[in-house]
């Protein structure tokens, strides 16, 4: 599979040879009834879900996502699956993790799951982050549920000997997620919050300029804030740095069939439509339009 180095820049990864006619066909994406191991509240807004599953789910890479078929809360009937980023994967333990915010019917349904229950997960989906072995220091900038998407990068970067500095933005200090998870992977975490008035784009830009000056920023990785993405786009252009952004859009099929999650991208001055679910959700930061 394409687990090692996912393709980047708006091209769906090549279809594995095993799916070509003539060869023995095997599913690179599948819907699987996974077993819920844990589903716990981690603060007033977010819950952490751990499921036991098999392949191909365990081939998921950072930046990819799953489509979850959420249980129906009383009186509500979410019909479509709900996209959730990969928060963690452990092929040895056979587990995949998600971090989700309760937003509506689907996520209310997810919150009802107990250990031992079954959850239909479909994935892994989309194009994930790619790490250039030439990079020594990468910077992750996230806000809200965007931190869930960035979280598995910490482990992947460490495995490649890269150091991560994470700037995590939230409304209040108690809502900053994944700090321990990043620190346990040797990352430096700088929380910025609205209540402390540190989360504005000007302050974050100062922090980033500082990191660039110290040569601790070979590339940007971001998710969850268009304001902060714009800052990084500007700095990437000014300093000739690379960057990747994980984007969100309302989705239906999750596998590139329905064209409901298209967004505009600026590709060498030309505006093109791309499907967030299939061509992304990770895109070149300079092509993204907030």
């Amino acid at each position: 599979m394409h687990a090692e180095e996912p393709a980047m820049g708006g091209h769906a990864p090549p279809i594995p040879d095993s799916t070509l006619p003539g060869g023995e066909w095997s599913a690179a994406i599948a819907a699987e009834l996974a077993e819920v191991l844990a589903n716990t509240a981690i603060n007033t807004e977010y819950r952490h879900l751990v499921v036991k599953c098999g392949r191909p789910a365990l081939d998921a890479v950072p930046g990819q996502f799953f489509q979850l078929l959420c249980p129906q809360p009383a009186g509500e009937q979410p019909y479509l699956r709900r996209p959730m980023s990969l928060y963690g994967v452990d092929p040895d333990a056979g587990t995949v993790e998600f971090l989700y915010k309760i937003a509506g019917a689907g996520t209310r349904g997810l919150a009802m799951l107990h250990p031992g229950d079954r959850l239909d997960i479909m994935g892994p989906l989309g194009v994930g982050f790619s790490l250039d072995p030439a990079w020594k220091h990468i910077v992750a900038v996230g806000r809200g549920a965007g931190l869930a998407t960035l979280a598995p990068l910490a482990k992947a970067a460490r495995a490649k000997g890269m150091h991560v500095t994470a700037i995590f933005s939230a409304r209040r200090p108690d809502l900053v997620l994944s700090v321990e998870l990043f620190q346990s992977q040797g990352a430096t975490v700088i929380p910025v919050t609205d209540t402390e008035r540190t989360s504005g784009p000007a302050h974050v830009e100062r922090l980033l300029r500082g990191l660039i000056a110290e040569q601790r920023c070979d590339a940007f990785f971001t998710c969850g804030s268009s304001r902060l993405m714009r800052v990084q786009q500007r700095l990437a252009t000014e300093f000739g740095l690379r960057g990747q952004v994980a984007m969100e859009q309302q989705m239906a099929c999750g596998i590139g069939l329905c064209f409901c999650c298209v967004r505009d991208f600026n590709v060498k001055g030309e505006i093109v439509h791309r499907r967030v679910c299939w061509d992304g959700p990770v895109f070149d930061i300079l092509e993204a339009i907030p």
Partner: protein, 316 residues
């Protein structure tokens, strides 16, 4: 072993299950073994380059969704160069769905595609607005249906499937008109015109205001329409509307469909088509039915007569 093959005019399909236009693309190859499908059906293409409708393009409702994707199209050369080659390695027949704003436009697009190797069937999506008739869809009326199908028939020797809209009160007449004008099969049907309003914003939920309802919610309506059409035409009918399981497919075949298309169900269970195929074989085995084609039109209604339905629609 059940014989799953079905005949649609001159074409034999290995089984009666295929995707519905607009809900199928190359990406599904990572989910299922394409060589198992009865046919491939591509997203509708147009000659004009189109970007599609404004977002949001989809809203869910109980048992289905309303879509207003529009028909984003990169045109014919892109299709021939980039989409077609993907299906070339398979022996599964390729059905290409087309649309145009005029009868002449339909005919010239069909003629152009007929010269391209690798296309087994033209499916004319005549549920789209006809600019010569005030934007009313061709398939809303028998007259405009007959005109566009005649033009198409004269333009191509390929098998011609005509996809009808469920949004007309004249469906049996429209079906008969398509048969008269030379269609080889009918696809019944497209999505049902619908709407949703967001109670937070008081705005329509879709960027395009109105859209088409699909999914299990529409199955009983379209099933009835297949039944009605099967009683007035001899053409094979391909049932399409809310099919998610083998039981749904069997019900459609009993109502008169020779084959079925699976659309929205794929968004929820990406391998739905494969489970419909496997499930149909099991259904037939369980009922000692040797050929799946024995199901076609096998609904038993000898005993019903109009009087039984009087409580639904009392005689005037």
């Amino acid at each position: 072993m059940t014989d799953l093959s079905v005949r649609i005019g001159s074409l034999t399909l290995a089984n009666p299950v295929m995707p519905a236009s607009g809900t199928f693309a190359e990406g599904l190859e990572r989910v299922m073994d394409f060589s198992r499908l009865g046919a491939f059906v591509t997203k509708t293409i147009t000659r004009e380059l189109r970007t599609g409708n404004p977002l949001p393009r989809v809203v869910e409702r109980p048992g289905g969704l309303i879509n207003a994707i529009g028909i984003p199209s990169k045109g014919v050369p892109y299709f021939v160069e980039h989409t077609l080659p993907h299906y070339a390695p398979y022996s599964v027949p390729l059905v290409v769905s087309i649309s145009a704003p005029t009868a002449e436009g339909f005919a010239s697009l069909a003629a152009e595609l007929s010269a391209v190797p690798g296309i087994a069937v033209i499916e004319a999506n005549i549920s789209c607005p006809n600019i010569e008739e005030d934007g009313k869809a061709f398939a809303m009326r028998a007259g405009s249906t007959e005109a566009v199908v005649r033009a198409l028939r004269a333009a191509t020797k390929l098998p011609l499937w005509v996809k009808l809209t469920p949004n007309t009160g004249d469906l049996p007449e429209v079906a008969a008109a398509a048969e008269l004008a030379g269609a080889d099969a009918l696809v019944v049907a497209n999505t049902i015109l619908a709407m949703a309003i967001d109670l937070n914003t008081f705005q329509p939920s879709l960027g395009n205001v109105m859209g088409g309802l699909s999914g299990p919610a529409i199955k009983p309506i379209v099933l009835r329409q297949v039944y009605q059409c099967a009683r007035v035409v001899k053409l094979p009918i391909i049932g399409c509307g809310g099919i998610a399981t083998a039981d749904d497919a069997a019900e459609y075949m009993l109502a008169g469909a020779t084959a079925v298309q699976v659309g929205t169900a794929t968004f929820v269970q990406p391998a739905a088509m494969i489970s419909v195929i496997d499930g149909l074989a099991k259904f037939c085995e369980r009922r000692d039915i040797a050929r799946v084609s024995d199901l076609v039109g096998a609904v038993r209604n000898e005993e019903t007569d109009e009087a039984d339905l009087e409580w639904v629609a009392p005689p005037q």
